[in-house]
């Protein structure tokens, strides 16, 4: 099966600009997650979708971040306006239903805000 794909792989933007990250999960995976690692920190949970519904967005840092999953397929994560501290690697993951269903991660989007 095709893995989780993320686009773009790298993005360099200036502070105040907008960036939209895209994630295509594995086909058939209802669960989609966004995680991120900012400089010097651990990988942190951002939010979780089941199909098109947000189940948990407790990890979203602030209202400059907006995630969507229209139609329950691919997801986008928009940062508007971007700040310097948003720089890091944003990972998307998907899984089947079940608390122990393994997470399948994409290769991430490296975001650099200058």
């Amino acid at each position: 099966e095709a893995g989780v794909t993320q686009f773009p792989s790298h993005s360099v933007i200036e502070k105040g600009q907008t960036v939209t990250l895209r994630c295509d999960p594995i086909s058939g995976h209802d669960n989609l997650y966004w995680y991120r690692r900012v400089m010097g920190k651990e990988i942190k949970f951002l939010l979780h979708f089941v199909k098109e519904s947000k189940q948990d967005e407790s990890g979203m840092p602030n209202n400059r971040f907006l995630a969507e999953r229209t139609g329950g397929t691919y997801s986008t994560l928009k940062v508007q306006p971007a700040e310097l501290e948003d720089s890091g690697v944003y990972f998307c993951a998907s899984s089947r239903t079940g608390g122990t269903a393994p997470l399948h991660f994409g290769n991430g989007t490296r975001l650099t805000v200058t």
Partner: protein
């Protein structure tokens, strides 16, 4: 690489030797634990998991040990190979929930040929 700015503990192991990577987890209520491997430029990849009702689980060349008393996990890799060079993360979660996983800081494994 992706780990720039993140000072990871590093374990250097001779090819063919066994590796042991240790991890302390934080939440005594966690009942499901996972080890991930992350190679440069890639996302974390599932290696092996263990539930809290077990203290040992074996996979292919890997073994995970769980000590709930001291909240400690270890990953043992037998006959370490150059392809095992990566950053290894332990993670904790609740088996009855969804995958809102808490990751550790990671350990970089360097295999010396």
């Amino acid at each position: 690489g992706e780990s720039v700015g993140l000072h990871l503990p590093t374990l250097s192991v001779q090819e063919g030797d066994n590796s042991i990577i240790n991890c302390a987890y934080s939440n005594s209520a966690s009942d499901y634990f996972i080890w991930y491997k992350q190679e440069s430029g890639k996302g974390p990849q599932f290696i092996i998991d263990i539930r809290s009702n077990m203290d040992k689980r074996q996979g292919q060349r890997v073994t995970v040990l769980l000590n709930k008393t001291v909240k400690h996990l270890s990953l043992q890799i037998a006959a370490t190979q150059p392809g095992d060079s990566a950053v290894y993360f332990c993670a904790e979660n609740f088996a009855g929930g969804y995958q809102k996983v808490t990751f550790g800081t990671g350990t970089k494994l360097q295999v010396i040929p």
